[in-house]
Point group: C2
Chain length 397, copies 2
C-alpha cells in the first residue's frame, strides 16, 4: 500500500494531529527498496508489515437488524489475519435476527477458517461479567447492557483487552462494498505502522460519499461532518491562538485505536461517541487541563487521518438520522471543559440554523462512560471465560 | 484470496467450461498450509502466487472521454505488479482529453513508481506498424485504426505480445470503485493460477449490479446478459444433447486471457467482442468443426467464471446502450457456423421481443478480425520500438 507522507502535523499539548494523508495505491506489489528520495512524499507499507499489524488488530462490527447480505459482505472484506468481533443488538424475539447473524458468521468462518466471535449486547453473562468487574456504567435498570452503538463498541474494547489484542478498529455493518471495508482495515494497519507513539488513533476520511438520487453525485463533505469539524477546529484554534482546519474526521465512524489509548479514554453514548473520543484526547493530553495519564502524556497521542481511494456507499438513513447525529456530537464539544464561549456560541448558532434546537436552548450533555481501565479485567474475564467458547464462530477458537 | 473450488465442469470438445466460482475472501492472510480436506470445497490462493501471475499480466484499459476522476480511480485499483496499458480514443482536438489522460497517468505513476503505457488509438505510428505487420484489418479508409473498444482491445493484445507479457486482462474505465477493480484483477490472477492448460480465459461475474434509482436495488442479472447467456447455452445444449445453463458470463466486459489463447482467436468488432470470444472458442475447439489450433486442442481451452464479492457500480448508459449491446452479441452467435436453427429462432424471437429488430429481419453480422497471430510481430515491433519510450508514463520504462 502506498500512502502520502504526512506533510503537516498540528501540535496541541502532547497531541499530534496529522493532516489528511491520501491512499495512493491499494496494492503496491512486492517488497522492494524505495528509490532514493521517494520517501520524501510517499510511504510504502509492505504487505508483511500490514499483516503484522492486522494480526494484532480486532475488528469490531456493531450490528442492529442489518440486512444479512450486507453483513456477510462486510465480514468478507475484513482481512483474514484480524479477529472479528461482532456485537449485535438485533432482535431475538419474534424473528430471531441474532440467530441468523450467528449462522451467517459461522457458515462464513467455516469455509474461510477465520477467527471471529459474536456476542449479543443483552447477553446476561456479559452483564454479570461487567458487574463482577465493577463497571456497571454500561448497565440499565434491567441490569443488562444499555442499547446503543457506543455501548457495543465499549463491550468490543473490553473483549479485545481480554483476548490481548493490541489494536481495535470499528467497521459499520451497512457497507455495500466489501472492497471498501478491506481498504479501511488496511488504513488502520498502515496508520499504526507509521505511529511513533503506542497511544495512536486512525480515523478514516471517505474520498467521496456518493448520493444515489438522480444519477450519481460524489459528495465530499456531509453537512454533519462539515459542522462538527468546524466547531472542533474552533476549539483547538482558540487554545493555540492559530486558526486551523486540521480536523477533517470529527464524526468518522470508521476509526481505530491502539488499546493502550482506547483503555484510558472516557467515552460518550450514542452518536457522540466518535467526536467525544477527540474531545477526550484534547482534554486529557492537550496540556490545558491536567494530563489524564502520565505515560500517555510522555509518549504523546498521535492522530492519523487517512483518506481512502474507495468512495463510501452505505444504506441511506435520511435527514432525521443526520440531525440525530449532529446534536450529540456538538453536545460533547459544548460541554467539554475546554470549550470557550466563542465555540459555544458557534455550536448553538449551527444547531439553531439546522433547526435542531431552539434559540436559548443548549444541546444536551451526552451520557459519559469512564475509561475501560476502570474495569477490573481479571474479574470480568473470570465470568466471561466460562462462556467464551460459545461466542466463537468456530467452536472454541 | 479464498475462492470456491469448481464443483462442475462442462466439456464441449476440447473446451472445459467451469461453473461459476465465488470469491469467499478478498484477503486470506498469510501463507499457511490448508487443514486436511479443506481443499475439497475451497481454493486458497496465496499472496505470492497472485503476485507471480500479476507480474506476467497486462491490464488493458480502453478509454473514450471518460471522467478523469473515474479513470484515476480505476488505475489506482490495479495491483502494482501489473503493466497497465491504456488505449485511448478520446478527443484530441478542441479539448485535448487525451492529453489530460496522459497527464493524469504520468502524475499517478510518478508518485507510485508504476509501469504503465498510454497510446492513442489514432496514433499514425500504430497504423504504420500494423501496416508493416500486414494486419490492415484494423485500419479504416483514412489508414488509421478504426473506432471501437474491440479495436482498442486488439491493439492492447498486440502490444502485450510485443512486450512479452503472458496474460492480458481488460478493465473498463468507468468503474466507481477502485476496490472492485483490484478484485477483478485478483480474480484474473486466481483463475490463471488454477488453470491446467496454457490456453485459459477468466470471465468475471458481478455479484450484483446496483441500480441507483429509488434507493438501492441489487440486481443480479441484467436483461442483456440473461438473453445472451440463454442463447449461448442453447447453442451448446443442442450440440451436446444435454441442456445446460453453464454460461453465466456471455457479455462479461471484465475478462482476461492467456496471450497464447488470445493470439489464436478471431474477434468481432463493437459489443460483439466479448460474446464472440466464447463463440470463437466453441468453433475452434468444440470438436464440431475442425480444430483451429493443434496445440490448443491438445491442451484444451479452459474457461473460468468467477463471481466477485464486490458489486459493480459504474456510469449508467441508459436503454439505448443496452439494446446496442444485445444485437451485436446475438449477431455473433446467430452467424456462427455452429448455430443450429432452433437457436437461430430463439435469437430472432428475443430480438423481436426487445423491439431490436423487426420480424423477418436478421441481426447483422459483426465485422470480423483475424487472430492476432496473423500479425507479423517482428515487423510491427520494429516500427513501434522507435516510439515506445514516449508511450510509457515514466519516460522510457
Amino acid at each position: 500500500m502506498r500512502i502520502e507522507a504526512p506533510r503537516y502535523t498540528e501540535r496541541f499539548g502532547a497531541v499530534r494531529i496529522n493532516e489528511v494523508q491520501k491512499v495512493l495505491e491499494l496494492d503496491s506489489g512486492r517488497a522492494r527498496g524505495l528509490s532514493p528520495d521517494e520517501d520524501i512524499a510517499v510511504r510504502k507499507i509492505e504487505e508483511e508489515t500490514l499483516k503484522d499489524f492486522e494480526q494484532k488488530l480486532a475488528i469490531a462490527i456493531p450490528i442492529k437488524n442489518e440486512k444479512l447480505k450486507l453483513f456477510e459482505g462486510v465480514i468478507s472484506g475484513v482481512p483474514h489475519e484480524c479477529l472479528t468481533i461482532v456485537v449485535s443488538n438485533s432482535d431475538t424475539e419474534k424473528v430471531d435476527r441474532f440467530r441468523m447473524e450467528k449462522d451467517t458468521l459461522k457458515q462464513y468462518c467455516h469455509f474461510t477458517r477465520r477467527r471471529a466471535l459474536i456476542i449479543h449486547q443483552k447477553d446476561p453473562v456479559v452483564a454479570r461479567a461487567l458487574e463482577a468487574g465493577g463497571y456497571t456504567d454500561l448497565l440499565d435498570e434491567d441490569g443488562l447492557v444499555r442499547n446503543g452503538k457506543a455501548e457495543g463498541m465499549l463491550l468490543a474494547m473490553m473483549i479485545s483487552m481480554m483476548v490481548k489484542k493490541e489494536y481495535i478498529g470499528f467497521i459499520d455493518a451497512d457497507n455495500f462494498f466489501p472492497g471498501s471495508v478491506w481498504e479501511y482495515v488496511r488504513c488502520y494497519a498502515a496508520g499504526f505502522s507509521m505511529a511513533q507513539s503506542p497511544y495512536a488513533m486512525v480515523r478514516v476520511l471517505w474520498r467521496y460519499k456518493p448520493k444515489a438520487s438522480a444519477g450519481m453525485y460524489f459528495k465530499k463533505w456531509g453537512r454533519v461532518s462539515e459542522v462538527t469539524n468546524k466547531c472542533m477546529n474552533s476549539l483547538i484554534s482558540v487554545k493555540t491562538g492559530f486558526d486551523t482546519d486540521i480536523i477533517k474526521t470529527g464524526n468518522a465512524g470508521e476509526h481505530a485505536m491502539s488499546l493502550k489509548l482506547a483503555e484510558i479514554l472516557p467515552y460518550a453514548s450514542g452518536y457522540a461517541v466518535e467526536p467525544q473520543e477527540l474531545v477526550s484526547i484534547f482534554e486529557g493530553f492537550g496540556g490545558v487541563l491536567p494530563f489524564a495519564h502520565q505515560a500517555g502524556a510522555k509518549h504523546g497521542v498521535e492522530v492519523f487521518q487517512i483518506e481512502t481511494r474507495n468512495p463510501h456507499l452505505h444504506e441511506e438513513r435520511g435527514v432525521g438520522h443526520l440531525q440525530g447525529m449532529l446534536v450529540p456530537g456538538l453536545g460533547s464539544l459544548f460541554h467539554s471543559k475546554l470549550c470557550d464561549s466563542d465555540t459555544k456560541q458557534m455550536v448553538i448558532n449551527e444547531l439553531v440554523n439546522q433547526k435542531a434546537i431552539r434559540k436559548e436552548e443548549e444541546p444536551a450533555m451526552p451520557r459519559a462512560y469512564r475509561p475501560p481501565t476502570s474495569l477490573n479485567l481479571k474479574k470480568f474475564s473470570t465470568v466471561m471465560k466460562e462462556h467464551m467458547a460459545s461466542y466463537y464462530a468456530i467452536n472454541g477458537q
